[in-house]
């Protein structure tokens, strides 16, 4: 409660001066240490001010096709998730298709997160490590899901049994 009142009071004070001043005021007001969430890396100068912004070569497989593919995979998960409940029975092939689609959806989702938060131009090595780490993890999980689907009861049936346990 106190923190809500405090922040609204501060916002009234902080409307007039610049953002920097309000940050300093807040930092001075609070007794806990200020922790920056993901502080920006130190800047560096590349090229001259008159260089044109680099335009990447057009690549639909990394752009529009990829975007559309992502949406198609996401949309296909809706009927795949609903199907076992609508049919009232479980088909091993459908369960395997669901697992494969989930794996692709997870992989591209994690890829999007890496592309957004580990930029190529600032942290090229961390980017490469993250992308290849993800590729390795996806292969491992794909193998594990294959094992689980072929030698155990499958994902949907497991969740059903856990829910009824």
């Amino acid at each position: 409660m106190a923190s809500i009142a405090r922040s609204s009071l501060l916002r009234q004070v902080a409307t007039k001066p610049a953002l920097q001043n309000s940050i300093i005021a807040r930092a001075a007001f609070h007794t806990t240490a200020k922790r920056d969430l993901l502080p920006p890396l130190p800047q560096r100068v590349v090229g001259t001010v008159n260089d044109a912004a680099p335009v990447p070569p057009p690549s639909p497989s990394h752009g529009s096709y990829h975007w559309t593919f992502d949406r198609l995979v996401a949309a296909s998960l809706i009927p795949l998730t609903v199907a076992p409940f609508a049919a009232g029975s479980l088909n091993p092939t459908m369960d395997a298709v669901l697992c494969a689609t989930l794996l692709i959806h997870s992989h591209t989702g994690f890829q999007n997160i890496i592309v957004d938060y580990v930029p190529q131009y600032r942290t090229p090595r961390a980017r490469k490590a993250a992308i290849w780490g993800l590729n390795a993890a996806t292969v491992v999980v794909g193998l594990a899901l294959y094992e689980y689907e072929t030698s155990d009861v499958g994902i949907t049936e497991t969740i059903k049994r856990l829910w009824k346990a």
Partner: protein, 184 residues
């Protein structure tokens, strides 16, 4: 400042014209009375100029950064929570998959039968709590995923619809999560 300059330019033009005898003598006399300012300038090489500019470029503000976003406007809007819930669910799948593959080497038992018997032995509150921690992110991700697909098609793009839609997703996912965890 600008008016003064305009006058100076006009005077210069007149002074440069050799045909206008009357005005040229008058203008030259007027020009000789004008103030001049000797600016102190310094010749520097191209590389020195470049280093000064580079030093200034290093002090430019970074944009955009997390500080610029208004938490109350966009944080609960659903977009970042789609990522939170999705990475939680997919992270769980990845951890379980890797553990299942490593289980024979480490002597763990992660087959469905032992998982079900272990989970069934837990008290009702713990079971329901764990179920809610899975069911709520799943419901949120599913509902908000459908909403995002609709947004991708250009539907519900009015400001009020976006704001209200975000809160409907929170309500619906919490109700569904509680139902799935406690009543199913």
């Amino acid at each position: 400042m600008i008016a003064q300059r305009t006058g100076t330019t006009a005077l210069r033009r007149v002074a440069a014209n050799p045909n206008a005898v009357f005005t040229s003598t008058f203008a030259k006399a007027a020009m000789s009375q004008m103030q001049t300012r000797q600016a102190t300038t310094q010749k520097i090489s191209a590389t020195e100029a470049r280093s000064i500019l580079d030093a200034q470029r290093l002090n430019r503000p970074v944009s955009p950064h997390l500080d610029i976003y208004d938490k109350q406007q966009t944080f609960f809007g659903g977009s970042i929570w789609q990522r939170f819930t999705g990475s939680g669910l997919s992270g769980g799948l990845y951890v379980f998959g890797a553990a299942y593959l490593a289980a024979p080497l480490l002597g763990w038992h992660l087959e469905s039968a032992s998982l079900v018997s272990a989970f069934g032995a837990l008290p009702f509150a713990v079971k329901s709590g764990v179920k809610f921690l899975v069911a709520w992110p799943f419901a949120f991700h599913a509902f908000n995923g459908v909403r995002h697909l609709a947004l991708d098609l250009g539907m519900f793009m009015k400001r009020q619809q976006i704001v209200k839609g975000g809160w409907y997703i929170w309500g619906a996912s919490l109700v569904s999560g509680l139902y799935l965890a406690f009543f199913l």
